[in-house]
């Protein structure tokens, strides 16, 4: 699992000013599920999963997401973004071990 935390972002091939584009993003992460003992009780420990995804465009936070273990392994998302001017899109994921994974993409008109 050397790849844990790799974030990839895909943008549409053509972007025009004023478009609402759909951004695809994927992060490699185990999103560890709950384990139970014989009595069906949750084993208390620090489960390793992503709890927050934040999307920022040109430094301004535009979307904020709360995730749980109910989201699949290697979570992928498609989210909308309204483009008025070119800029830098960053998507960051925070997990329960305190690590943060970030991906960035340059949005240009074409």
């Amino acid at each position: 699992m050397a790849e844990v935390g790799r974030v990839s972002i895909r943008l549409p091939s053509t972007i025009l000013q004023g478009d609402v584009i759909r951004v695809r993003t994927l992060v490699i992460h185990p999103m560890e599920i709950v384990q139970r003992d014989k009595a069906n009780k949750i084993i208390p420990k620090n489960y390793h999963f992503i709890h927050t995804m934040t999307v920022a465009f040109n430094g301004k936070e535009i979307m904020w997401t709360e995730l749980t273990q109910g989201v699949s392994q290697n979570p992928s998302f498609i989210f909308p973004l309204k483009i008025d001017k070119p800029g830098k899109l960053t998507v960051s994921f925070a997990d329960t071990t305190g690590k943060s994974y970030e991906g960035a993409a340059e949005v240009k008109f074409s």
Binding site: V20, R22, I33, V34, Q35, R36, D37, K38, A39, N40, I42, P44, K45, N46, Y47, H48, F49, H51, T52, F57, K60, E61, I62, M63, W64, T65, E66, L67, T68, Q69, G70, V71, S72, Q73, P75, S76, F77, I78, F79, P80, L81, K82, T96, T97, G98
Partner: protein, 172 residues
């Protein structure tokens, strides 16, 4: 205003603060306390029924049927419950007085029904999201759109799950 609908002192922050406090106590008496065991960002919520989840998230507010406003795309039969594609698309605006502030995805029969929450701002342009979720068993999946003015629109769809994607019961 383009402020994100975020609680000032959310559950995560609270749990983290509680965990930090727990660790401080532990360092003092060198005995792991019960609170340090059961709190922390990685500790899941206790099991609860979907009614309890809805009450915790929305209080006693009523839901309006949103079938004409929200489109929920899910497979009829999911072979692998661990990876079920879900798409929520809404024609409701994300700016103005009656804007969508958040979309919740809730599974009725998962042991922790709250799966994900997506908060939008006017810069999103559209209330849309697509992801993959885990379903424990054959269940109804709800998508709930919360508007700035407090209105809640709910849609649900039934999914048959062949193999559970969640916590399996321990072998007896």
């Amino acid at each position: 205003m383009a402020a994100i609908n975020r609680p000032l002192f959310g559950r995560r922050k609270f749990l983290r603060a509680a965990a930090a406090a727990g660790i401080a106590v532990t360092l003092n008496d060198l005995v792991p306390s019960a609170t340090a065991q059961t709190t922390g960002a990685g500790m899941p919520l206790p099991d609860e029924l979907v009614e309890a989840t809805l009450k915790r998230l929305f209080g006693n507010r009523t839901f309006q049927r949103g079938d004409d406003k929200i489109k929920l795309d899910l497979p009829l039969i999911a072979e692998d419950g661990g990876n079920v594609a879900i798409t929520v698309d809404s024609i409701l605006p994300v700016s103005g007085a009656a804007a969508v502030s958040s979309i919740y995805i809730i599974s009725e029969k998962n042991r922790r029904p709250m799966l994900a929450k997506f908060s939008f701002t006017p810069d999103s342009g559209r209330a849309f999201v697509s992801t993959a979720i885990r379903l424990a068993t054959t269940t109804d999946v709800r998508a709930i759109a919360e508007l700035n003015d407090g209105t809640l629109y709910s849609v649900s769809k039934h999914v048959r799950v062949t193999i559970s994607g969640c916590d399996m019961p321990a072998q007896s």
